[in-house]
Amino acid sequence: MPPRTISVARSLAAGALAAAAGPLWACGGAAPPPSAPVPAASHAECVLPSTGGAVRDSLVAAASGADTALLTPARARTPIGLSCTGRPLPRAAAAWNPDSTRTHWTLVVPAAAELARHWRDDRDAAATLRLAGVTSVVPLDDRRLVVGFAAAVDSVPAVFADPALAAPREADAPSAIRLLAPAGGDLRDALDRGATVVTSDPAVIGYAGRRPGITPHPLPWNRTYVLLAPRGGSAPLDLAAGDSAEMRGALARDAVRVAARAAAPPYWWDSTDCARAPAPGGSAAASVAYPAGDPVARALAERIIAMSKTPALVARGVADAELSAAITRGEYSAVVVPLPRRALVPCREIAAWPVGAAALPLIETRPTALLQPGAPALQVDYDGGLLVGEQP
């Protein structure tokens, strides 16, 4: 659809609507008239081709919560996508372009007003936009949405690829992917049912390697495991003294049982200037905490304890829901936390870190997609996320 010029009057009316919606939506005021949107070029550089034969239903499965997020159908409804190389891809938005100041970006999306209302009403979406520095969201008309940022953004803002900003799904819209909940948590059963599986589990990957016709595809390195000392100092314990590429490589090689490599700079959190939680008071338990459901984090915590000279130091699994608060309160000496290797909203990822917290990158991991015969072509996102894509 060709871009349209929006009149000032309509823009003012839209600004008034945004003012009534709340501070975030009011602060943008009248958006400057956008330049003509440039439709993103479609490309096939990050597409897993169809494995041939009759294309079947796209059954996919993943065991862990993090891997499941790679398969969420919501990816298809985010304004843009980011390919495995970081190139923007049109998703819900057919086109986008900035104004001259590059502080306002216009998205060409269907039902722009509805999307704006959804972003305003949905708590995760609103928080994501706020932490991404969005100051206003103004629908110009049914198809154009102007998003204002506090600072100029050179390229299309990556936050538009965040699943939290996915447009609401229509009730009767068919899904290209049917996500299976593996029975008993064993992904090998899902493989046996013909599902394409995304996993890091070496046992599942090993099983798939012994099954004819299943093609393993390593996905992009998408996660960095960090040893975080909420109270700063030299905390990552006595391991800090031994911090080296060799040590990280040994961790990646021996301590964990997934595809891993030593973490390498640059790290996005080093260049962020986000508001931090206040420094914690009291004292910390002599524990290395980790997300209770994450075997990689657990293995890293155990290895750190094994190498520690403090006999009283123990590993402590903490539920995901409690981990952020524990980090903010500085309850534990150190915490092994998984971070996205590329953060679309950096301040959201480290919102729980208190002032003075010190982070020691350890390893990076990536999942593997196990493609069944007859699987459709799959688009691979920057974080390994998959969605049914075009045949290259």
Binding site: D254, E302, A315
Partner: protein, 560 residues
Amino acid sequence: MSFRARLFIAFSAAVVLPLALLAWGVRREVDRRLTDQYRQRVDGAVASLEAELAGSTAAVEQRLAALADRLADDNRFRLAVRGGPGARRELLDWGVEAARLSGLALLELQDSSGRILASGHFRNEYDLRRPELPRFLEAVGASPALVRARMPEGSVVALAATASFAVAGQRFALTGGLPFGDDALTRLAPDPQLSVRLAAPGSVSAATGESAVGEVPIPFLDLLAADAAPDTARLVVLQSDATLAGLRRGMNAWFAGALAGAVALGLGLAAWLAARVSRPLRELAERTEAIDLDSLDQDFASDRNDEIGTLSRLLGAMTGRLRAGATRLREAERRVAMGDLARQVNHDIKNGLVPIRNVLRHLDEVAPAPATLAEVYAERRTTLESSVAYLETLARNYARLTPGTGRERCDVNAVVHEVVRAVPPGRAAVRAAPGAGVGTIEGDRVALRRIVENLVGNAVDSVSATGGEVEVATATGRRDGGEPVVRIIVADAGPGMTRAELDRAFDDFYTTKEGGTGLGLSIVRRLVLDLGGALRVDTGPGEGTRVTVELPTSAPAETR
């Protein structure tokens, strides 16, 4: 203390003491057996504990031997120890899987230098050097030993053993152990009333409310300690004090209850026996107590054949004899009383007749001179009249046969003057010395006159031979400083009395005078007592006699 009380105490002692002794002995015996039984159970528990430890250690050794055999045959392991590519991770994971499959809580594979190649309880412990663990277990040998090892989220205590094997020319030590936590300790306690606790070196065996009744020393290595030196822990068999205390409490309660019941029964029996035995004696005592000269008709008849029956019959016979003796005694008393009465009448009449006879003698003396006869008669007429009146009163009193005295106001000085005037001249010089303020007394005038007459008569008799003087004085005073009294003092300068004579002076019929009746002072004493007074005699051989009569008076008196 009554005979019944003594019987009760004797019976009680006879019943209660054996019962208490029996209870004490039974309790002690039961307690000893209970303790012995506990001891046997504890000994059994300790033996069972040692057997269980040995069995568990053997089981660990068997599993380790099987794992070592499997490793020796495993080509992947051979490649891994030779440093084959990609084998390292398999080796690390082997430890976890082997521990899980073999049920061992502790599993470590170490090379000859003590470097950990794989750990089942702490996968990521690899590459650490810990030679002290296999060294400790090799030194212990086949004996059970405990190891406290580090785990990611804490520590584990395991009953451990070690096995060594060689692969590719290298020696390896495989160390494993079964968990030795609370569950294992609970399983080790064969008796629900006993518990087993692991006391680490230097710790206390038992907590409050528990008693350590048995101990099994066991070599112990704490890998969490800084020096990780071999030590000895103790498996302590504990018995809850509450259990044994409860048993003893229950036993004591039952014994106390049984003893109390037996004692109560014994005391009841003792009381019944004491009452049964003492009742005939009490009845006998009651009948004996009722025996009196006027009541000698008690019935002591008894058909008992025992000592009490004999005693009762003896008392009956004694009562019979007493009845006969009392009859004779009454007759003798009657006769004596009649004699006494006759002598008293004689004495009293003589006292009344003496003034009359003296007046008549006086009249005989003056009869030759008729001119003075009338004058003398007139002068002595009052003496005659008072003597006649005295005799009349005496006769009335005897006629009534009442020894009691009348109550009237009597002028003491007047009576004294009357008696002194009645003394015939020539026998002795009798002088009245009435005290000032001496008033009256409440009493019988005849009795008062008889008192004064008898005392003056005795005094005159005592001085008649020597010609001494008799003084009759009166005075007022207070008896012992309290009650007002009138004192009548009759003093003579006679020979006085010895102590023996004085002791018998107031006895009836005791006299030292020729022709005396021996009733004078006896009558005086009775009359003074009748008037509520008191009598005192001050005398000594050669010192004369001074008799003081104190009679109560209602009039205020001044001490003189």
